[in-house]
Symmetry: C2
Subunit: 128 residues, 2 copies
DNA sequence: CTGCTATATGCGCTAGAGCGCATATAGAAG
DNA sequence: CTTCTATATGCGCTCTAGCGCATATAGCAG
């Protein structure tokens, strides 16, 4: 029963959640730490961690520890390709849907270096 | 709440089922009728119909009626591309997984013209 | 050591997806 | 009309994924 189609299904199921799709979209631009993703999604930290676990166990993302913070990035460029294709299809089905607003940076309340640096550049004006 | 990410999620969720992935894999080769898909998957006809409804409502496949039979095909080449990328990722995660056995044709017990023609060619020796 | 922060995990609850099974519709044929 | 076949739909049951919330772990600072 645990054949190759189960592996396929596991991959697809890992993709099949709004928050995880958003996470992958953010990671498609650049790696990010959990606190950054939490701030971008505006969800509970435990949920973000849970979603990241699902993505990690599906080998869609990989993590890298740096001090206290854990940075996640896509495990493969094909993951970004899949998300991009899905966005294509969604946009084609309903062109009125505006997708791209992926906050590049910074995010309010995120203490990670990425955001701090971005905040300095923009001068404390945080998106969201 | 019903923003663009919900559309993305709907697409991904439609993909996130073993049987639906197999259906898409079969349709990536050529269009097929419900009876053909039912025979290939070896599942209850009502389930196949149900899965096709999910795929249809997600605009991943389109149907075409021809007499009593209904033929389904992929709505877009990108659907096949997504499935192919997923297969790539799965194979990379575990190279021992053998994926491709998509029965080209014929399938025992399927009365559709495709299978009948294929059966004639091979001489009644049905796969499965 | 203590405390503080970033991240991960455990657990009960609930909504939804699939399944099994029965039944309905649609088209062809007699 | 009736009948047969291909496909679709309805319904109850169950099982799992996410959620909300509490708590545990890990690394740094003092």
């Amino acid at each position: 029963m645990a054949d190759a189609y189960d592996a396929l299904q596991d991959l697809a199921q890992a993709l099949a959640h709004r928050s995880r799709l958003r996470i992958l979209e953010v990671l498609a631009r650049d790696e990010a730490c959990v606190c950054h993703l939490t701030a971008v999604l505006g969800e509970a930290q435990s949920h973000v961690s849970q979603h990241l676990r699902v993505l990690r166990e599906a080998s869609l993302v990989v993590d890298r520890r740096e001090g206290v913070m854990v940075y996640y990035r896509l495990a493969d460029v094909r993951v970004a390709a899949i998300v991009a294709l899905l966005k294509d299809l969604a946009r084609q089905a309903d062109p009125s849907l505006e997708l791209p607003p992926v906050p590049t940076a910074p995010v309010a309340g995120c203490p990670c270096p990425h955001c701090a640096a971005a905040r300095d550049r923009v001068g404390e004006s945080c998106s969201q």
